[in-house]
């Protein structure tokens, strides 16, 4: 049984803690004096701590945003699934498969079957719809991008993806439409298209089963809500493929096929087989995980920018801490001289002031982490890989660890030079 690798941040923190405990345990360090000083000079302590808290809170929120996006992408795809596009297409949006192209793909060896013997193959049409939203008078009308997926067999499609409906909902009927009733039917002769919406969209638009919404030129009625939060499917609307094709000019065509195989290795093998050796059509097949992983490529730039901003802010904060500690030391040269005369060695003075800085950082950083934790579960929308995705911010243990490491680093860097200068104070001169 293999254990997951220990993150470097944990290793760093543990080593730091061990080093500190060793230093503190090796001899007397006047920690109570340092702690009392923080309390006595509480105004300066609070000002410095507030700056720390703000930086750490902001860092956690930014990381939670990135975390949420990354997690969404990672959970959007089963290891054993294969997505089939037309040759050369990198995205479902620009893929075009005719019915002839899609024939016999599901007879490929390695594809699983359901208890009724049907191959687990979902034929789909994927469209991104540009929807106007009414704005306040005088305001620019806003738009939103909505991922719409036309499905032939919804239960099969959900099964292939490992998704299910929330209780109280149903899949769309074979006809895929339902008559509008009441006020919604006024002025509209066409029936509403039955739709299953992802949890993210349902939460964002405050939709429940039975609600009617407008999408493109038609009205749509929510018949079910997918349990799909934290995956890209949470931001999708599913409906009958033929109807989606008719409304958006993709009749008699698919954009993708989704196949289920036993595991990741089989998915890789089937992908290669379909891409290189399938003679009946020019296809591009790849494991579904790899397909969604490519969407996360744009994340890397954002993640880099997040760290740059956070580190630069932290450097600013470090100078602030340094300022505070240097001022504190210059006011306490008498105390330091006295401590030296009492027998505290230079290195103990160094450790003492270093730990004072760390104490300040840890407490304020801890408050920052606690405030950042409140962001966990916040809902946000972002444009990623050609998709408008609804996701939740995630503050997990890794994020908190990064926050703590950040705090400790800021406190350590900010306190090191002042502590060295404290160490070099000459006792007799300081007492004159």
């Amino acid at each position: 049984m293999t254990h997951p690798p220990i993150p470097p941040s944990v290793i760093g923190l543990v080593l730091m803690a061990i080093g500190l405990v060793a230093l503190l345990g090796a001899g007397k360090v006047p920690l109570r004096y340092n702690f009392r000083n923080l309390l006595v000079r509480w105004k300066i302590t609070v000002l410095t701590a507030l700056a720390f808290t703000l930086v750490v809170t902001l860092l956690l929120i930014m990381l939670a945003f990135m975390n949420g996006m990354t997690r969404l992408i990672e959970r959007s795809g089963q290891p054993g699934n294969v997505i089939v596009l037309s040759s050369g297409a990198t995205d479902e949006l620009i893929s075009h498969l005719s019915p002839a192209d899609a024939r016999e793909v599901d007879t490929q060896p390695g594809i699983l079957h359901d208890p009724q013997g049907r191959p687990l193959c979902s034929r789909e049409v994927y469209v991104v719809v540009n929807q106007s939203l009414a704005g306040a008078p005088g305001e620019r009308p806003r738009r939103r991008l909505i991922q719409l997926r036309g499905i032939e067999e919804p239960e099969l499609a959900a099964g292939v993806r490992g998704l299910e409906l929330r209780p109280g909902g149903v899949w769309f009927s074979p006809a895929g439409v339902r008559a509008l009733t009441g006020a919604a039917s006024e002025g509209h002769s066409s029936p509403a298209i039955e739709a299953v919406v992802g949890e993210g969209i349902a939460r964002e638009w405050r939709l429940r089963v039975g609600d009617v919404f407008e999408l493109g030129p038609r009205f749509w009625m929510v018949v079910g809500i997918l349990k799909s939060v934290d995956s890209a499917f949470g931001s999708e609307v599913w409906a009958k493929r033929q109807l989606v094709g008719e409304v958006f000019g993709k009749e008699n065509a698919y954009t993708s096929l989704l196949l289920r195989t036993a595991d990741a290795a089989t998915a890789q093998r089937v992908s290669e087989e379909l891409t290189q050796n399938f003679k009946k059509a020019a296809l591009r097949a790849l494991p579904e995980r790899d397909y969604y992983a490519k969407l996360a490529d744009t994340n890397q730039g954002l993640l880099g920018a997040t760290y740059v901003i956070a580190i630069v802010m932290a450097v600013g904060g470090v100078f602030g801490v340094m300022n505070t500690m240097f001022a504190a030391i210059s006011q306490r040269t008498g105390d330091i001289g006295l401590l030296r005369i009492l027998g505290f060695a230079r290195w103990r003075i160094l450790v003492s002031f270093f730990v004072e800085s760390l104490m300040l950082a840890l407490v304020s950083g801890g408050i920052g982490c606690a405030l950042g934790l409140l962001a966990n579960g916040w809902s946000a929308t972002s444009f990623l890989g050609g998709r408008s995705l609804v996701f939740t911010l995630v503050v997990d243990s890794d994020t908190l660890l990064v926050g703590v490491l950040f705090t400790v680093s800021m406190g350590g860097l900010g306190g090191l030079l002042p502590a060295v200068s404290a160490m070099r104070v000459k006792p007799l001169e300081s007492l004159r």
Binding site: V127, A253, I309, A380
Partner: protein
């Protein structure tokens, strides 16, 4: 990771390098003011400079912290500035985009081109408004190697009428400007003549391709080279090109190419001859968008109404909006990110700056209580002491803000952008953002300590002095 560390390192180096002008200001400024004591306020300013020089370490650390935080705010505001600029509606000389109403991946029949190019104006109605100019875009994406498609071997071609490069597509000259966001598209007569010659070449040779400098380098080709692009969306439509020229130097179109639309349309029309009489699946969906040039908002509204009410564009339906509205609509998908940058990130950095400055000034005031008491005994009024303390904070904040924003502008626009294509641009407005941010946060952060400096009680201070 290396780029991230190099970027941070360069900011720190710049911050330390910016000490030089700051210290010069402190030292030389004080010397200069000594000769100008006859000027009202010169003595006061001299005292401020002396106070800052007294504890160089604290002044330096405060300066550094402010410098670095203003740098970050300037970078964030630069991004927001350009987003706002591109989303701001022009009132004159509008460009309008007509594209598919519902789908993001706009695919219109080419038969729409002619009537949309006239703004759906009815030829029998003279009162209908016509656009000043129009242009069609069809997007052909091709790869040099169909078996191994990579970002480097893909070329995105805009299929259009070549002569429109000289008229409606005037943004081909644009750099992303730093000049209050105004486009700096002012080509020289020689540049225009060069482009005219290239346009004529493309009109004579339908296979001619104009390609952006960035894309030319990426596919490792040169002027005069021939290449075959294999259609990605336009499957089985493989086109041979000859590179006849490079698009004008400007970041906007550096990564794309321009081809003659007749070449693509001819290929689509001849497709059935080689494919058993069957039309290409995209034969009736080849038009991506139509651009219209209109004089003002009123003309745009009239044309939009003409298009909506014509009844000609039902399957698929079209939408007509200005370029800025189109950009804004795309930005709407990132509204949470933009909101976070504007209302979370920027205010947090500003508050942090105020706290750092407040901290530094508080420490300074606490250390100088005796001195402040002496000043009061000598006749300085509380308002003057307030001004003294605020002046110190304002001086550090304003100077560090000015230097930071200036170096951010120069370093990003002149240095980074020459190394990394399409890095952010810092607008010239940064030259007043920096001092304003520094001054405002210094003022806010130092109000309380300055207030406490005014209220120093002489009797209390001297009661403790032994």
């Amino acid at each position: 990771m290396i780029y991230v560390l190099a970027f941070i390192g360069s900011i720190l180096l710049t911050a330390f390098a910016a000490f030089v002008p700051f210290f010069l200001l402190l030292f030389l400024g004080e010397r200069g003011l000594d000769h100008l004591l006859f000027l009202r306020g010169a003595r006061f300013l001299g005292m401020i400079l002396k106070n800052l020089r007294r504890n160089l370490l604290r002044t330096s650390l405060t300066y550094l912290a402010t410098f670095i935080l203003v740098f970050v705010v300037t970078a964030v505001w630069s991004v927001l500035y350009f987003i706002d600029h591109f989303m701001a509606e022009n009132t004159k000389g509008l460009k309008v985009i007509v594209a598919e109403k519902w789908q993001v991946n706009s695919k219109l029949p080419f038969t729409y081109a002619d009537s949309l190019g006239r703004g759906a104006a009815n030829p029998l109605r003279s009162e209908d408004v016509r656009p000043q100019d129009s242009m069609t875009w069809q997007i052909y994406q091709g790869t040099l190697d169909p078996n191994k498609q990579t970002r480097e071997n893909i070329v995105i071609c805009i299929a259009m009428e070549p002569r429109k490069l000289l008229t409606i597509m005037d943004d081909i000259w644009d750099e992303i400007s730093t000049d209050q966001g105004k486009h700096r598209g002012k080509p020289t007569p020689e540049q225009i003549a060069e482009l005219q010659a290239l346009v004529e070449k493309m009109q004579d040779n339908k296979r001619g391709l104009l390609i952006g400098a960035g894309r030319l380098a990426a596919i490792n080709k040169q002027m005069g080279d021939r290449l075959t692009l294999h259609g990605i969306e336009y499957k089985h439509i493989d086109l041979e090109f000859e590179i006849v020229g490079v698009l004008p130097k400007g970041r906007r179109y550096s990564e794309i190419a321009v081809m003659n639309r007749d070449y693509l349309n001819d290929a689509l029309n001849s497709y059935p001859r080689t494919h058993g009489g069957v039309k290409h699946p995209l034969a009736d969906k080849s038009l991506t968008m139509v651009w219209l040039q209109v004089p003002d908002q009123e003309a745009f509204s009239r044309i939009a109404e003409q298009i909506d009410s014509s009844g000609l564009y039902q399957s698929p339906a079209v939408k007509c909006q200005t370029l800025s509205a189109e950009i804004a609509a795309r930005m709407d998908a990132n509204q949470d990110l933009i909101w976070g940058m504007r209302w979370l990130l920027s205010p947090t950095i500003l508050i942090t700056m105020a706290l750092v400055l407040s901290n530094a000034i508080s420490i300074s005031v606490r250390e100088r209580r005796t001195e402040l008491a002496v000043l009061k005994v000598l006749g300085f009024r509380p308002g003057q002491i307030l001004t003294l303390v605020l002046g110190e904070a304002l001086l550090i904040g304003t100077v560090s803000g000015l230097f930071s924003a200036s170096l951010c502008l120069v370093g990003t626009n002149w240095v980074l952008n020459s190394l990394v294509e399409n890095f952010i641009y810092v607008p010239n407005n940064a030259l007043w953002w920096g001092p304003l941010i520094g001054a405002a946060t210094a003022l806010v952060g130092s109000l309380v300590p300055a207030g406490s400096a005014c209220t120093v009680k002489v009797s209390e201070v001297f009661a403790r002095v032994t």
